[in-house]
């Protein structure tokens, strides 16, 4: 793939020192950052909460991927991913989550990044790096890696 994924994931969309009392607060923080970046209409937040309430977005390896619903695509201004790290962990329906990769997508601009995320999570060593690195650039680089 030759898609330039940079604009979908930017260093300013990586937040390493988040705290949240619970899953709902964590989703709110994800929505805050997507809004701050101008990626979504403010009401996208509601769709993210609805989706999370309907079914957990927990993936595994301490990672959740909060996102909206099909009907909320129109509320997305541009395909964007943001990464929020919660060093103290957030209880995600029984799973401890320390990384949220929040998604706002109206097209397929984020697909390559999610493919990279899947590959990272299947490799325990790289999954640990995603959870622990203190370098925001490194997270962008990991997720922007082209499929090998």
């Amino acid at each position: 793939m030759t898609t330039n994924v940079r604009p979908v994931l930017e260093v300013r969309g990586i937040r390493l020192h988040e705290t949240a009392a619970d899953r709902e607060s964590a989703v709110h923080r994800c929505a805050d950052v997507l809004e701050e970046l101008g990626a979504v209409h403010p009401t996208y937040r509601e769709a993210m909460l609805d989706r999370e309430w309907a079914m957990s977005t927990y993936l595994g390896e301490g990672v959740a991927i909060p996102h909206g619903l099909d009907k909320s695509r129109a509320l997305v201004r541009r395909d964007s991913l943001v990464v929020l790290r919660f060093p103290d962990g957030v209880d995600w329906d029984g799973h401890p989550v320390t990384v949220c990769v929040a998604i706002a997508a109206r097209g397929d601009g984020h697909v390559a990044l999610l493919a990279a995320l899947a590959q990272i999570l299947l490799d325990p060593e790289r999954a640990r790096e995603l959870r622990e690195t203190t370098d925001a650039e490194a997270i962008v680089a990991m997720l922007s890696q082209e499929d090998l």
Binding site: R51, A54, M55, T57, L59, G60, E61, I65, H67, G68, L69, D70, S72, R73, I103, A105, H110, V111, L114, A115, L117, A118, Q119, L121, L122, D147
Partner: protein
């Protein structure tokens, strides 16, 4: 349909509510695992599953809705996005042959 032979699978669809997050990721994984096989892997929202999907993978809790919307496809529910045994069985059936049995019940 309730079952299909792995060798007859030409289109595999991963379905979820939004077709934006989790299904996209699983589809990407499967596309990678099955890239040498003559199988098309797509991701779709439940409301727009193509009628020529041979097998549809979805979260177990969505299986009833998917079955209603895709009566001609074998519907397989899974619980985990990483390393789910039901997904692994579908991959193995496509690669090595064997029957894929649809999930029954909710």
């Amino acid at each position: 349909m309730s079952s299909i032979d792995g060798g007859d699978i030409r289109k595999l669809v991963v379905a979820c509510d939004a077709g934006m997050g989790s299904s996209v990721m699983l589809a990407a994984q499967l596309r990678r695992e099955l890239r040498k096989m003559p199988v098309i892997v797509e991701h779709h929202a439940i409301a727009s599953i193509p009628s020529d999907a041979d097998v549809v993978l979805c979260q177990a809790g969505l299986a009833d809705r998917v079955r209603a919307g895709a009566p001609r496809s074998v519907v397989v529910g899974f619980r985990m996005f990483l390393g789910d045994p039901a997904v692994a069985r579908v991959v193995a059936a496509v690669k090595q042959g064997g029957v894929v049995v649809g999930t029954t019940g909710g």
